[in-house]
Subunit: 334 residues, 2 copies
């Protein structure tokens, strides 16, 4: 087999050099499987070669591309927003679920139900234009710091995964994010941090209404739910937004189970991977009991379905980049 | 200004040669406006230059890229499906709205309400897997013929628009379809006919459910409506699927009004166009009264909003290609 050459575009040079692809991955079965798969589907003339238009790769975000502990970053954003808006809402002091957030101070609120989370999301995400929400999200991402790693959340992305994204980009893959996170929140950083443009970001969404304000068109975010891009919602949205089965699919939790199942029946060569968080020292160790990122069913199905389980502890030389990321979300053009 | 050179990729050679771009367009103000805009936003160093990641172009489909008379092709597909399925549904002979379709023979059924059309779409589009629907759509597109032009519907695409799509592709634009048609029906031909892959096709949709059939994942099309991608639904779906405002937007009816308004407030250089069907001899002449493609409000707003009105009669040298399209929908890989 004769792999297509890697281009030497400046932006990708450090992340995906032909000499050392996936350099933050330890040598071993997983790294070998990844490199062998990418070579197989990109070697022109090989019967395993997949035409570029079918080289679709899909990545979950929380816990797959960036850290999701102690809680989803977007959840922490919601709590910060509640605190920031509290002065305008004195009634929240005694009103569930806002009271629980305010009483927790800078800590994690306790005893929130799914319904509570929905109410908090609606109070912080709805009733504003999509442009205003984008601005607020970018401001938070530019200033908020992870409680343990003391760096911006966009600097808590996994270095080995950035290298994999770069390798796939160099080999003619088209990568998508398919995340349970809110689509508008994700888009505030995915292009700058992962080089994945908004059109290739799929997430949960609320309903949105078109309005003319003095002749000027705006889109208003509504409190009503649009789509939950988690579990069985993921293959449904893959079909709606992408319209092709992926040939490389990477997840880390039971929320990715159905999208991994969906990918498993591709008629083309395909590879499914599950990141296992087993590294309490460098990141976190969790799977079966966790506020975020429960991994139980998917791990059980990994054997029979031949999914590759990636051990953070064993397979990753580094978890985060040595230096804080140099790119950060800036202002967006609309 | 120094326009970026056109690549000489084999597939685009005939449609977009540097020597004769838009050769099926008559010389005049509209062709000049198109070429000047494309040059302006792709001339590196010019202050009108737009970075490739913001060169988003959006096209309506019915009446903008292919003919929509005497009725939307997908509507004709629905009527053909009702006739094909009638033997399995003897009750349809006396049941509205199926009776109206069956009694019309090969002709157009009369007096259908919007509710009726919804019932016909549900009966022909729902209760099957997305794969099965794709197969049925491709079979119909491969065999059905336009009643006046006696060629396949995919051969009733407009030659000047294929040339514009090719020019934009050569100049680093990313083009999307944003159509009122059903997203799964559109995807059965858009990649082969327009070189626009499924991920860049936005359309109306029903709800879809993920199921495991003997461990094999499938997506079932449901009768419940998902999204109507028409009128105010178009900017909402542009935001959901694309996440950026287009800089070139092409429509032909009041169903495109809100997406044109939405595009009109881009902070980047931008161009909006409306195709006016005024050519009864070569195609059709219609605007204010029509089963499909009503154009009244949008035409009224074209002046104040500075939208470019394209006259089919005046601005197009040819309407359809001289030779039947050589590409046709084949089988799809899933």
């Amino acid at each position: 087999m004769d792999p297509a050459p890697l281009p030497s575009s400046h932006g990708d040079r450090d992340l995906a050099s032909e000499a050392r692809p996936l350099r933050s991955w330890n040598d071993g079965a997983v790294k070998q499987a990844l490199l062998a798969f990418v070579d197989a589907v990109t070697s022109e003339g090989a019967d395993t070669c997949v035409p570029p238009e079918h080289r679709v790769a899909i990545f979950d975000n929380d816990g797959t591309l960036w850290t999701e502990q102690p809680f989803y970053s977007q959840g922490l954003f919601v709590f910060d927003r509640i605190r920031a808006l509290a002065a305008e809402h004195p009634e929240w002091k005694t009103q569930r679920p806002f009271q629980a957030v305010l009483e927790a101070g800078a800590g994690m609120p306790h005893g929130l139900s799914e319904h509570d989370v929905g109410a908090l999301v609606a109070a912080t995400h709805a009733g504003m234009t999509t442009d205003a929400f984008d601005r607020i999200s970018r401001e938070w991402l530019a200033t908020a710091r992870h409680p343990r790693f003391h760096r911006r959340y966009t600097e808590c992305v996994y270095q080995p995964m950035l290298e994999l994204l770069a390798l796939l980009r160099a080999r003619g893959f088209t990568s998508y994010i398919v995340s349970g996170g809110g689509i508008d929140f994700l888009r505030a950083f995915c292009e700058e941090v992962y080089a994945i443009p908004p059109a290739r970001v799929v997430g949960s969404s609320s309903q949105v209404r078109f309005e003319l304000h003095d002749g000027r068109p705006v889109l208003i975010k509504l409190p009503e739910l649009g789509s939950i891009d988690d579990g069985p919602g993921k293959p449904v949205n893959i079909h709606l937004h992408i319209g092709k089965r992926p040939i490389l699919t990477f997840g880390n939790s039971d929320g990715d189970l159905q999208m991994l199942q969906y990918a498993s029946v591709s008629e083309l060569p395909h590879l499914e991977l599950l990141l296992h968080h087993d590294d309490a020292e460098r990141e976190y160790a969790y799977d079966r009991v966790s506020l975020a990122g429960r991994l139980d069913e998917a791990l059980r199905e990994a054997g029979p379905r031949k999914w590759t389980v990636v051990s953070m502890k064993r397979d990753w030389k580094e978890v985060f980049g040595r230096h804080p990321a140099t790119t950060s979300p800036g202002t967006s053009i609309h």
